[in-house]
């Protein structure tokens, strides 16, 4: 199945995800006017999300994302792990 969702987060940045999934994420594209440092790590975040079970509780997905992002020393500016999780959950509703 293909799912898509967009959300304007608190400070006005737009986060959009396009997901191919069937219980698990097969492919995901995250786009928007936010900042991630270093920029190329968006690919790592997308790769990390592949295989994730979208039926997991929101809090679990957010916890996994937060751990991964902290471990890789990736910085999100203009949105956070909770925003991204919310958009993913919205896309697979």
């Amino acid at each position: 199945m293909i799912g898509m969702a967009s959300k304007k987060v608190l400070n006005g940045k737009l986060v959009t995800v396009l997901i191919d999934y069937h219980d698990m994420i097969r492919k995901i594209r995250i786009s928007g006017d936010f900042f991630i440092h270093p920029e190329e790590s968006i690919n790592e975040i997308e790769e990390f999300l592949v295989g994730l079970d979208v039926r997991l509780e929101k809090e679990v997905i957010e916890y996994k994302l937060r751990n991964f992002i902290r471990m890789r020393d990736i910085k999100l500016i203009g949105f956070d792990e909770e925003d991204l999780t919310n958009v993913i959950k919205e896309a697979v509703k």
Binding site: G32, D33, F35, K75
Partner: protein, 248 residues
């Protein structure tokens, strides 16, 4: 720390973006001094942020019809329309080790230089986190930052002139949104130097040079031949390629 300042020059959009990436390489490895450059756009272009999807952001059909280029930059943030007449842009490149390692502080530091520049024109600017400068509570400058090749690059635009209708004809905003109300809403949120004071573009360039170099040791400098060669390579083999433009 001594800076190299490159005075206003015009390049095509691909070369402008390629020169910024080249700066991260040459400044990051300290082959050249930390650099401040000022530049304009030989051809008008829509420049999207690194994480944006080209087809979502840009009205490709209208751009092609009007000879407007569409390009992706190396930093995040939102799409901007740079008119060959209206946009004044600047880039600041510093080795990572010399600049604040806190991203919001980097925006703040360069933001203060822009505020000083505006002050030179009699305009009171204010820093609006994360990355904007406002005048009369309206956005007048937007900035983006990239950390690459051990270099921090902050680049942005000071709006000299603004044609909201033209700008949105090249951006993908839902047609039903481009109403008179939408345009007037944008005009309530965005301003430009020309709206606030009667100065020439040249005056603004001088104000920027003074604002950005205040209390700094600097020389006006030129590009190294190797930098130009590298930028030409990146322009042709990266920024002009569809695989980069339509990466997302």
């Amino acid at each position: 720390m001594k800076w190299r300042v490159i005075k206003l020059e015009m390049h095509d959009p691909y070369m402008n973006l390629a020169l910024d990436e080249t700066l991260t390489e040459f400044v990051g490895k300290e082959f050249v001094k930390p650099t401040i450059r000022f530049y304009g756009w030989k051809n008008s272009a829509v420049i999207i942020g690194y994480f944006q999807k080209m087809k979502d952001e840009v009205n490709l059909e209208n751009c092609k019809k009007n000879g407007i280029e569409f390009v992706r930059r190396i930093s995040g943030g939102g799409a901007v329309y740079q008119d060959n007449d209206g946009g004044l842009t600047y880039s600041v490149a510093v080795p990572k080790k010399y600049f604040e390692n806190d991203i919001s502080k980097c925006y703040r530091i360069v933001g203060d230089w822009i505020i000083d520049s505006l002050n030179n024109l009699g305009i009171k600017g204010e820093f609006k986190p994360i990355n904007d400068i406002t005048a009369n509570n309206k956005k007048i400058s937007g900035n983006a930052l990239s950390i690459k090749n051990d270099c921090i690059l902050v680049h942005g635009t000071l709006l000299y002139d603004l044609n909201v209708e033209k700008m949105f004809s090249f951006l993908n905003v839902a047609k039903e949104k481009i109403s008179d109300k939408f345009i007037s809403n944008v005009k309530e949120r965005v301003t430009c130097v020309k709206d606030l004071t009667d100065v020439s573009k040249n005056d603004v360039v001088n104000a920027l040079i003074h604002g950005f170099t205040k209390n700094k040791e600097f020389d006006f400098g030129e590009w190294e031949i190797m930098e130009l060669k590298r930028a030409e390579f990146l322009s042709k083999n990266k920024f002009k390629k569809d695989e980069w433009k339509f990466m997302r």
